[in-house]
């Protein structure tokens, strides 16, 4: 029997029981829709993490000051800042795989312009900072070596600070007061967005490191050269571990630590943190898709259930078809095609529902969602496979009926 005729016959059989067909397909629609939606949400979360990695700057290691401890006793409470500008210079000079090492100090300040004010995080930086974070200006300029050498009173604004102090007006060459010290705005930074911890990275002020120490945040009494952290950019991702080890050795040597003493600093590999977050979000999206796939399997069981009912109801029809010349294969194909028809139609509608659902969820919850063919196509093929898998048993049952018994079935 021709396949086209079988398909027509299956379509006719499904049309005669529209409500039942629709409800059967609904199981698949929900399943496929859920898979597509969940994968879109998962892909959106992954894309967001990847975006955060880009915004942070890639291949970053951060070296943080720690307290000096020796034999379990914490020493020198006034000398918490254990790393220095000279450490940063040494890292940049001696560790080959380091592209830039940027010493920074941070502090909370209030900044005033005219009669508006804003509390934000101030960072004292050197030009290497912008290189490490791959961060450029949207207007004006960044901090240059001359600013650091002269301890100039210049400031570069993050977008959030700029918006809060200046609204729509141009902040360049305006004077702002930070802790009563007047600074000239020389640049505004490009927008970075949220960090992985949800902090607004644009809510910041950047001034030269030397100026921050002398005029704003003050200097550690123990060591005037000390800094809070050093941001290190490594040349390539596969050299991160090597750079980390070299930096640790270098700093231990520079800090004269004995082999049994603990580090008086801490090294964080930010890319690693993000990579693990990315892995976590990938696992989460897989999990979501797997749960959704379960609902698709349940939809498949719905198909099987209805097909079994249908085979029983149409036993006499099957007997008649066998009597007038249908082979077992013809009966098998007829019922199998009905099942696949339902699952494919459900799959197509489910994809549409999933795409619409993804965007609705994205809008309502302000989540980033990403519908991709790489998610839609497998969902569709899976639906087809579900139709074949769960349709096969009832179809086989129909094809195995003895014609004469089927004809006499009451």
């Amino acid at each position: 029997m021709k396949i086209s005729a079988t398909v027509q016959m299956a379509a006719a059989a499904l049309r005669t029981n529209r409500l039942r067909t629709a409800l059967t397909a609904l199981g698949v629609i929900i399943g496929v829709g859920a898979v597509v939606t969940m994968m879109a949400i998962g892909a959106g979360a992954q894309a967001r993490v990847a975006e955060q990695i880009r915004s942070l700057g890639s291949n970053l290691i951060i070296v943080l000051s720690g307290s000096i401890t020796s034999g379990g006793v914490r020493l020198g409470s006034g000398s918490l800042l254990t790393i220095t500008e000279d450490d940063a210079r040494a890292i940049q000079r001696d560790v080959r795989s380091v592209e830039a090492a940027a010493p920074t100090i941070r502090g909370g300040v209030q900044v005033v312009f005219g009669n508006s004010n804003w509390s934000t995080a101030l960072q004292g930086v050197t030009p290497e900072y912008f290189q490490a974070r791959e961060w450029g200006p949207v207007s004006g300029r960044l901090i240059i070596p001359d600013d650091v050498d002269a301890a100039s009173k210049v400031v570069v604004l993050g977008q959030t600070v700029s918006e809060n102090l200046f609204g729509g007006t141009d902040p360049l060459d305006q004077t702002v007061r930070i802790k009563a010290v007047p600074f000239t705005v020389v640049g505004v930074l490009a927008r970075k967005g949220q960090s992985t911890r949800g902090e607004d990275q644009d809510d910041t002020l950047l001034i030269p490191l030397s100026t921050a120490k002398k005029k704003v945040l003050g200097v550690s009494q123990a060591n005037a050269r000390s800094v809070g952290s050093i941001l290190v950019k490594v040349t390539a991702p596969d050299r991160m571990a090597e750079a980390e080890a070299l930096i640790r050795d270098l700093l231990r040597e520079r800090h004269h630590l004995q082999p049994r003493e603990e580090d008086d600093f801490a090294i964080r590999n930010l890319s690693e943190v993000l990579a693990s977050q990315e892995a976590a979000s990938r696992v989460l999206s897989l999990l979501l898709a797997a749960v959704a796939a379960v609902s698709l399997v349940v939809g498949g069981i719905g198909i099987m259930n209805i097909m079994l009912v249908s085979v029983t109801e149409r036993t006499r029809e099957i007997g008649l078809r066998r009597a007038i010349g249908a082979r077992r294969r013809d009966i098998l194909n007829q019922f199998l095609i009905e099942a696949v028809f339902v699952s494919l139609a459900g799959g197509l509608i489910g994809i549409a529902v999933g795409i619409v659902g993804s965007y609705v969820i994205g809008l309502v919850f302000q989540w980033s969602v990403l519908v991709s063919w790489a998610a839609v196509l497998p969902a569709f093929l899976f639906a087809a496979a579900v139709g074949v898998f769960f349709g096969y048993y009832p179809a086989r049952k129909a094809s195995r009926l003895k014609p004469i018994e089927a004809l006499r079935y009451e």
Binding site: E317, L320, R322, G325, A326, D330, L407
Partner: protein
């Protein structure tokens, strides 16, 4: 004498039923010539329906041989039997067995779906057979819109659509009143006059009298084989 269309030699059919075995046929040997019209009679449980089932290639005998057109079909596989049912045999049932949701025309076309027939040819052949049974005006009706007699005529047209050599009718008038039964038998006799071989299972002696020959079954055996002397001729419908 014509060449035999059907020849059975010692047909046996056993059914397992719970713990014991039912012997539905116990050695039936009979020859039916091409172009004959034969009635098969007997009380229920006599084996007449089982005999019909085997003649129709819907089942195979447990033992014995069944030659259809000189070909032994008793040991054929399922696909070959399907092929024979499709090309050589037409069935008419007591319950009509029409599909309720499609038109008379589509019901008649259905056997052609299992052959390699284009949709145009299907339509034309079905229309011709509906004319043969006198239902050319009813092609677009669904079974529920037709009377019992008309439904059975649709079923006969469906049985004829592949131009079989043998028409098997299992109690074709069992669900019809006397007058309609007479009309159906007129159609069957008209088909017989065109040369079609017909085997008719019935328990009504009146209906059996339309045939040329009556085979009587009892307890799985052939107990009578007589020519009909006063053959009834149905009034033309």
């Amino acid at each position: 004498m014509d060449a035999p269309l059907i020849e059975t030699q010692g047909l046996h059919k056993d059914y397992p039923l719970g713990d014991h075995v039912v012997h539905a046929l116990r050695g039936v040997s009979v020859t039916i010539a091409a172009g004959e019209m034969v009635a098969v009679m007997g009380p229920s449980g006599s084996g007449k329906s089982t005999f019909m089932t085997i003649l129709g290639c819907l089942d195979t005998p447990t033992a014995g041989r069944y030659l259809l057109e000189d070909r032994d079909v008793s040991g054929l596989g399922d696909d070959d039997l399907s092929e024979i049912r499709s090309r050589r045999i037409g069935f008419v049932f007591q319950q009509f067995n029409l599909l309720p949701r499609i038109t008379a025309q589509a019901n008649v076309e259905m056997p052609l779906l299992y052959g390699d027939v284009s949709s145009r040819e299907r339509r034309e052949r079905a229309q011709r057979k509906l004319e043969v049974v006198g239902l050319q005006g009813r092609a677009a009706h669904r079974p529920a819109q037709l009377s019992g007699g008309e439904q059975q005529r649709v079923a006969i047209a469906r049985a004829l659509v592949n131009d079989p050599i043998l028409l098997l009718a299992d109690e074709p008038t069992g669900n019809l009143d006397t007058r309609t039964s007479d009309e159906i038998m007129a159609v069957v006799q008209a088909l017989h006059r065109t040369g079609l071989s017909i085997v008719l299972v019935t328990h009504e002696p009146d209906i059996a009298q339309y045939a040329q020959r009556i085979l009587s079954f009892r307890d799985g055996m052939l107990v009578g084989d007589e020519a009909v002397r006063d053959r009834r001729q149905a009034r033309a419908a």
